[in-house]
Structure formats: C-alpha cells, structure tokens
Symmetry: C2
Subunit: 78 residues, 2 copies
C-alpha cells in the first residue's frame, strides 16, 4: 500500500518550484501525492492546520509536516 | 542519467526527520541522493553556501535550494 503524501500550496512561485521539484521527485512506487491548492480549496485550510501546516508550501508525509522554503503563512490565506 | 540531489544536515533531530522522510522518499530511479553532514564535513560548508544553503536541513536539486523546516543556521556550524 502506498503512503499518502499531501503537498499544500497556494499557487505562489515558491510553491510551484517546490511542487515541481520536491513533490514531483517523490518515489511514485511508494507515494501517492495529492496536491492541494489552499488558495482555491479554502475548505481544506482546517485540515491543513490540524495537520500542523503553518505556511505553504508544505509537504505532509506520515503525519510529519515539512515546511519547504516559505511562500505564505496560512493566516494569509483565510 | 540520474539527477544529483544533495541533502545537507547537521545531525539535529529536525534534520534526521527530514532526512529519513523527505530525502528517503525521493525516487531512486531518478535521483542519486548524497547526504552531507555539515557538522562533520565542515570543509563542505563553502560548497553548501555557494549553492545557496542558509540553514539545515536543506535539499538541493537542480541548483534549487529547498530549506526544509529549520534545524540550524549555517553560521552556527562554523
């Protein structure tokens, strides 16, 4: 069974670079990567916050949050 | 030909989590991942700085630097 990875972003340039390079570099044999645009899917902000996401872009794997560089704080998306 | 990815760290808990989960999640079919412990290999600080690394843990892929969470500033390792 593959591990679910979630990549949260907000469409910012920093986000897109991280999405294309880091999220896109994960091993497809081991990970299902879901890309969530929090600027568009604002209803998922609650879920992202609950997972511990403080800023985007962020990658959540195995309930661990990895903030990758810094595009925007989550509070700026509300 | 595989893409070279470099994961710079300093042995801190934040670094180890990022190493095991993010660096370890990269697709081995596409990436050669070199793990560099800057606390031990201090001679490689110059190379890391030149690549744009400001803090560890950091992942460098395709000349792009991704600072993943924050363990320590590079200046603290000198």
């Amino acid at each position: 069974m593959k591990t679910q990875a979630r990549f949260y972003h907000a469409g910012c340039p920093v986000c897109i670079s991280a999405e294309q390079t880091v999220a896109g570099a994960l091993d497809p044999a081991r990970f299902d990567v879901e890309v969530v645009h929090l600027g568009q899917s604002t209803q998922r902000l609650v879920e992202a916050e609950a997972a511990g996401v403080q800023s985007v872009p962020a990658l959540v794997i195995d309930q661990q949050v990895f903030h990758i560089n810094h595009g925007a704080d989550l509070s700026a998306l509300k």
